[in-house]
């Protein structure tokens, strides 16, 4: 039985019709084999256009539909749905792109019309070989894994948990809180960072729907949307969480201190058994094995000796625990690191004592930091009389990072304000290229700083040195910069220089993205599905991203993204079942020779080998329909649904309609 194909040529206003003679194509298409109805219409994607398809299917008994219009990226879904409404399986439809591939590539009417015929014909010849396909239902596990316990991960976790869904929150450090826990005040409101963060941290710690796994990392991930299996390594704290009350006596009694390079940015110290900061969630301390005298030399054990709980909460024999969890979706909120300022030697960090990084200054200015909030120089005593703040360190720079790090202008202004507040008579110089203050209340904050008497020098700092040329420069750090607004090179003698480095992706972001089966860009940030319209989804179904791991951003944007990702996940959980595209590969197991070539070729690890029967099988849900195995199979027993040999070959034949030569089959062929 032959098929009844309906063909629709779209004008797309003048986008197609200006260059392609759509009437001619429609008439010509109507003369092709199997075509029973051929129309041209101004806007096929409009409701009237779609109605045309529906009506024709019903009234003309169409069994196949072809629409020649724009890119399938735009409207394949629209027309497939129209077919479905008309009672036809949506996969009995084929689209020809005569806009992006034709009318938009040339001004030559004749050539464009010829090509349109070829493309439409290809679709007609192909669609005849289409088979009806049903989308695959996939169940969504209602549990979610959130990786990263900073403000982004915390927001996402709380949104989902409050909605009644279970969340596993995995954090690499001993406590959640992330970088926000290190900050003193947040711009532009100057809210105390810990005051707004810790209630959320407590919520997470106490939430019945959140399983908090700190001092843990995800090591392996298997599965697909709705059905992930994650293997998590819960590192040994050497503290028994079941019995520890968090009293902190072990920390008090530990006789050994080390420089805290993580939380205190090298400015302060901590004990060898420690909590990263007093409000840590969870409250259980952790032992730093590399510096612990017991682990290194078998002595001390003060923490165990003084621990008051019964049984003792210090467990030197504790092992790492491997935990396997099943989740339906994953949200990555792994955060950022700061650009290493020693990569710019002319700024003097490390060589000149009183050059500080932003994170060092944050800790200094923090009331519970290593200097109790006093702004002092490296000798931990003297008060600086003048301070220079250097913007754009490592950002907007071809030599380091080309991008603008978005938040540095604001936090540099915040620093200027804090200096004015704590040292009223100090002179503060902010050296910037452009002042970027785009958020709510941000420009007003800049104004405040202008009124507070900050000296703004529009110029990127060339270098910081201690080579004095005059009396006034003796004993000072000299910031050399062109004040571009007055066109003069200036040398500003200051006591302290604060560098504002760019936010950058964490050094292992590439490995992490590969572990979670998605990608990162050249700067190391995770890649979103669409930069404008879908910033929290990734190209991998079921994996979402939120916060600074996607790109530099401030706290409000991070919270918004965390909530957005949570909403997407909640939506999926709510639906319970999701329909996946049936464009997948399948192996004819009876004909499979067990050569396993396809196993190694599959980029999604979607093919398994049955040892007992010595045949391979495609895990349909993992398969992304790339077609690699289909082409690789030497026996040709793998079929790519919706891309069978018949379909593809007839498409090629259709394109070559005007050069085909009819061959007579000679007996014996």
């Amino acid at each position: 039985m032959s098929e009844r194909v309906g063909v629709y040529i779209c004008h797309c206003g003048t986008n197609i019709a200006k260059t392609v003679d759509v009437e001619e194509v429609a008439t010509w298409a109507g003369e092709q084999p199997n075509v029973v109805c051929s129309r041209e219409y101004k806007f096929m994607c409009s409701s009237l256009g779609q109605d045309l398809i529906e009506e024709d299917i019903k009234e003309q008994g169409l069994t196949r539909v072809v629409v020649a219009s724009c890119s399938p990226h735009m409207h394949e879904k629209t027309f497939r749905t129209a077919c479905e409404r008309g009672g036809l399986n949506p996969f009995l439809f084929e689209m020809a792109n005569i806009r992006e591939h034709d009318s938009w590539t040339t001004d030559d009417r004749e050539a464009a019309t010829q090509k349109a015929k070829a493309l439409t014909n290809a679709a007609i010849e192909r669609v005849v070989h289409h088979n009806p396909l049903e989308p695959l239902p996939v169940e969504i596990n209602p549990n979610t894994l959130v990786v990263g316990g900073g403000i982004g991960g915390i927001s996402a976790a709380l949104e989902l948990a409050d909605a009644g869904h279970h969340v596993y929150l995995v954090e690499r450090e001993p406590s959640i809180g992330g970088h926000m826990a290190q900050l003193d005040k947040t711009f532009p409101t100057l809210d105390c960072s810990a005051c707004i963060l810790t209630p959320k941290m407590v919520d997470v710690g106490q939430h019945p729907n959140i399983t908090l796994l700190t001092w843990s990392e995800v090591e392996k991930l298997d599965g697909f949307l709705g059905n992930f299996t994650a293997t998590i390594r819960k590192k040994a704290r050497y503290v028994d969480e079941e019995h520890c009350t968090g009293c902190g006596i072990c920390i008090e009694k530990c006789p050994f201190k080390v420089v805290d390079n993580v939380f205190e940015a090298g400015l302060g110290t901590r004990k060898v058994i420690y909590r990263p900061f007093p409000q840590a969630v969870p409250k259980y301390p952790v032992i730093d094995v590399e510096n612990c005298v017991y682990f290194q030399r078998g002595k001390c054990k003060a923490c165990q000796i003084f621990c008051p709980t019964e049984p003792n909460s210090i467990d030197f024999e504790q092992q790492d625990e491997m935990i396997q969890i099943e989740v339906g979706n994953i949200i990555l909120a792994t955060g950022y690191d700061l650009f290493d300022v020693s990569r710019i030697p002319q700024y003097g960090y490390g060589r000149l004592a009183n050059v500080f990084t932003s994170i060092e200054f944050e800790r200094m200015v923090n009331a519970s930091g290593p200097t109790d909030g006093k702004i002092v120089m490296r000798d931990m005593e003297s008060t600086p009389k003048n301070v220079a703040i250097v913007h754009c360190v490592g950002s907007r720079d071809e030599n380091y990072h080309k991008y603008c790090s978005k938040v540095c202008c604001m936090y540099s202004l915040k620093f200027a304000h804090l200096i004015h507040e704590r040292i009223p008579e100090a002179e503060v110089y902010n050296c910037y290229i452009d002042m970027r203050t785009p958020g709510k209340g941000y420009e007003e904050f800049y104004h405040r700083l202008l009124e507070e008497g900050t000296h703004f020098i529009r110029g990127k700092v060339a270098d910081v040195s201690d080579v004095a040329r005059t009396e006034t420069e003796e004993g000072k750090l000299i910031v050399q910069v062109e004040d571009t607004l007055i066109g003069k090179q200036r040398r500003i003698p200051v006591d302290m220089v604060i560098l504002s480095p760019a936010m950058e992706a964490k050094p292992d972001s590439k490995e992490v993205s590969q572990l979670f089966k998605m990608g990162c860009d050249f700067d190391g940030f995770f890649v979103e599905r669409h930069p404008k319209l879908d910033p929290v989804a990734t190209m991998t179904e079921g994996i979402f991203i939120a916060g600074a791991c996607q790109g530099p951003k401030d706290v409000p944007d991070t919270v918004a993204q965390g909530a957005a990702a949570a909403a997407r996940v909640a939506g999926l959980i709510n639906r319970g079942t999701v329909m996946m595209e049936p464009v997948r590969a399948s192996i004819n197991q009876e004909a499979c020779s067990g050569c396993r070539i396809c196993n190694t070729m599959c980029p999604y690890n979607a093919i398994i080998f049955h040892e007992d029967r010595k045949v391979s099988e495609v895990l349909t849900a993992l398969c992304q329909g790339c077609g690699t195995c289909v082409a690789a199979c030497p026996s040709g027993v793998i079929t790519g649904a919706h891309f069978t040999n018949d379909q593809v070959l007839s498409q090629i034949e259709g394109i070559l309609w005007d050069v085909r030569v009819e061959q007579e089959l000679v007996p014996g062929d």
Binding site: I344, P345, Q346, S465, D466, V467, R469
Partner: protein
């Protein structure tokens, strides 16, 4: 015995002949041959690039082509010649059209350039090819107690060639340590000496020389070591001018790295061209003699 195509450059002929002498003496002592390129022409310095770029490249290319004929690596003791040669060589390798154009001109002297030679600065030969250990082994008079300020100048490290450190290179300090001297840590080691501005804009250049001498003096420098004849001339010959202009009393010896290397290798100062300076190098020799004899200065 490794041989190099040695390109002395115009300055080393007379004005900086002590650099030439000390280079050849130390090379001999360290078992390398600096074979002077026959019939070399001026590299054009900076002045030629002010007139015509293509012609300037051609001038440089002629010398490179002669080195290529002998199949030797091209070594320049002058940073200006080095920079010109390095980048001309690089551009000729990367741009076949430029190479064609220049080769057409070189045919007039029966020469052809193919980009097969490598361009090195003299100090790179000592530090990288001979190596610090090779030098240490031959040191017989370590420059004990002598504080040497390594003056890199501009065109050894800039423009950037690969991903090297242009802000804080260490190779010169390493060489100074290898000959037993103390390398002075000072900020201005890669700051410009003024170069040809000493003629075309005397005020600017003297200001730059003044700042360099000031920084060196502040850091207790006994001698400034240079790797470029123009830097050396600016810092040394014009010290009197700086003193007159700025009311200072600088009298800091300025020597070529090959001269201090030569002393450390036990070569007689006379053979290293010492004695021809405008600012006497005697104080340096005195410190050395005092350290060796144990008698204080």
């Amino acid at each position: 015995m490794r041989t190099y195509a040695y390109y002395p450059g115009c300055s080393l002929e007379s004005l900086s002949m002590s650099y030439h002498q000390s280079a050849l003496e130390t090379a001999k002592e360290l078992d390398i041959e600096l074979r002077e390129i026959e019939d070399w022409n001026c590299c054009g310095a900076t002045a030629y690039f002010h007139a015509d770029e293509l012609l300037a490249y051609t001038l440089v290319a002629r010398n490179l082509a002669i080195a290529e004929k002998d199949g030797l690596d091209f070594v320049a003791p002058c940073s200006g010649c080095y920079k010109n040669a390095y980048f001309t060589n690089k551009y000729l390798r990367e741009d076949p059209e430029l190479a064609d154009h220049i080769n057409f001109a070189l045919e007039a002297d029966n020469l052809h350039i193919g980009g097969t030679t490598n361009v090195l600065h003299l100090i790179e030969v000592y530090v990288n090819d001979i190596g610090l250990d090779g030098i240490k082994n031959k040191v017989t008079r370590p420059l004990k107690d002598v504080r040497v300020a390594p003056y890199y100048g501009c065109q050894l490290v800039r423009p950037r060639k690969d991903h090297e450190d242009t802000e804080n290179p260490q190779l010169f300090e390493e060489l100074i340590s290898a000959i037993g001297a103390e390398a002075v840590k000072y900020n201005s080691k890669t700051r410009c000496c003024g170069g040809s501005l000493i003629i075309t804009n005397r005020d600017a250049a003297l200001d730059m020389v003044y700042k360099l001498l000031l920084d060196a003096e502040k850091n207790d420098t006994d001698v400034i070591a240079t790797i470029c004849p123009l830097c050396n001339v600016n810092l040394e010959v014009y010290q009197k001018h700086v003193n007159r202009e700025f009311g200072t009393h600088f009298s800091i010896p300025v020597m070529y790295f090959t001269q201090i290397l030569g002393i450390a290798l036990g070569i007689a100062p006379g053979r290293l061209g010492i004695g021809k300076e405008m600012v006497s190098a005697a104080p340096v020799l005195n410190i050395l003699q005092s350290a060796e004899s144990g008698k204080p200065l």
